[in-house]
Amino acid sequence: MKRFNALFHKEWVEAWREKKLVWLPAVILLVTLLQPISLYFMPTILESSSSLPPGAVIELPIPSGAEVLAGTLSQLHTIGTAIIVLACMNVIVQERNNGSLMQLFSRPVNTVTYIFSKWTMLVLLHLGAFTISYGAAWYYTNILFSDVSFTSVWKSFVIYCLWIVLVITVTLFVSTFLRRTGGVAGISILIVASIAILSTVIPDIAIYLPSNILYLATEVLNTEKGTMHMGAVLATTIAFIALLLFTMVKQFEKSVKF
């Protein structure tokens, strides 16, 4: 535990000194807030773009708060996922390539401790950033549009957190196989995108898979209660994350040749 704490602490200090602790939450906040704010100002933006003939009347239906938050989540689902991959692609690969990993492993450190110190830190950092951003989005939605109940926001938050953890785990998983950050980012995004695409390729099965997380989270917002497959989706996601973590540790032990 002492070793885990030492490595875990190192991760946080590193994130602070390299300012990841600042830019990551800032970028995610920006991406999240853009949705409610741009939706609110949409009529004004359209009017001032002046490409419309004089006298044209724009009538946009005002979306409900739940719809706005759902839009926020799908915005995060595309751009946010890419940001998470970019923020995580370096963490193992860099230490492995420059040799600092080897120096650490000349001491009695085991792989599980090392990988979990990184994984835990990244999960906490991203979930923290997501909490702030989603909270802010909820606040602005309530002010600018209609109120959304706390329970439905809370439920959708918890469901969507699993997606974030999944993306982080996939990226770290690929990091133990490849030595180039570009490759890690590319393959991770490919894997995450394939998971997401499953819901259109095999919709019958995908309702039980992590592919359905976004749909579940938005549905909870709109209807305030989940569908019957919620348990299945959460279970497969958690199982998938566990499997990735397990394989990652095995792979790291086997093939990391410093």
Partner: protein, 295 residues
């Protein structure tokens, strides 16, 4: 007591054999130099001993037990740290990973920084360190937890001459407390501080000598003769039994059985050859090394 023993150590990468059937014994407070050309397998050997890679074959033991990483201090050839850290923070991390308590870490880190001459660099981030300073910090982290065995991969190759002498003095000092095995290309250093030298070539040990014994074993002394005029070898062959180094103005070799050094000197004077240097000489490691590698 044999603190580190390797028997039949072999490492294969596919078809390439990096290290083949290497045997090595390191006793307490002993210092062994690992010599050999680039690519001879020195680094692979050290990595196996340090537990960073698993050997394809062979055993590594300490005192007839499985070697524990706690006992080892390791300095890689290119020590790498986290650039954003301060030296003390790295030592803190290293110490904690090696299971030291906070209090001992605090005392010990000051001590090792002092030993390696880094006390003044404490306020600087490692990213701003020069190559030599990183090498020193590498040594500091390797001895941080007071290991019984110190494995160093070319500890002096990145250092300037003054730094090299510093590091050698530190090692000389450390010899009292731990056994040291280090690879180097600087044969002079190996000769100065090591008890034994292991010479490797293409993954195999080709010479494993106890330096003191080997020096005492020289049956007859060798004499070096340097002159201002070119020497005629034919005349000298009557006096020298064996000439090891032949240049026009410099020869080193053993004299024939009944020839005294004075006779050699007399010979030069008779021939009116200006003598610049004349003296008895021990065979040095460099000659031995060249002999073994080429032979």
């Amino acid at each position: 007591m044999t603190i580190l023993e390797a028997r039949g150590l072999t490492k294969r990468y596919g078809k390439h054999i990096a290290v083949k059937n290497l045997n090595l014994q390191l006793k307490e407070n002993e210092c062994i130099a690992l010599l050999g050309p680039n690519g001879a397998g020195k680094t692979t050997t050290l990595h196996m001993l340090a537990g960073l890679i698993t050997p394809t074959d062979g055993v590594i033991m300490s005192d007839n037990k499985v070697l524990n990483k706690d006992k080892i201090g390791f300095l890689p050839q290119y020590p790498t740290f986290f650039d954003w850290m301060y030296p003390k923070e790295y030592l803190m991390l290293a110490g904690t990973l090696s299971g030291m308590t906070k209090r001992t870490i605090k005392e010990r880190s000051l001590r090792v920084l002092e030993m390696t001459g880094l006390l003044e660099a404490q306020k600087k981030k490692i990213g701003g360190f020069s190559g030599g300073m990183k090498q020193r910090l590498g040594l500091a982290q390797a001895i941080m937890h007071e290991p019984k065995i110190l494995l160093l991969d070319e500890p002096v190759s990145a250092l300037d001459p003054a730094g090299r002498i510093d590091v050698m003095n530190i090692l000389e000092d450390l010899k009292k407390d731990m056994a040291i095995l280090f690879s180097t290309h600087v044969l002079h250093d190996a000769e100065q501080i090591c008890d034994k030298a292991l010479i490797m070539k293409s993954g195999q040990s080709i010479s494993y000598e106890n330096m003191k014994e080997w020096k005492g074993n020289r049956l007859r002394e060798r004499y070096r003769l340097e002159t201002s005029d070119p020497l005629r070898i034919e005349g000298l062959q009557e006096l020298y039994e064996e000439i090891d180094i032949k240049e026009t103005r410099k020869i080193i070799g053993t004299l024939r059985h009944n020839v005294t050094p004075n006779m050699l000197l007399h010979h030069c004077i008779q021939q009116n050859i200006g003598v610049q240097y004349f003296g008895a000489e021990e065979k040095n490691l460099e000659e031995h090394y060249i002999e073994v590698i080429e032979g």
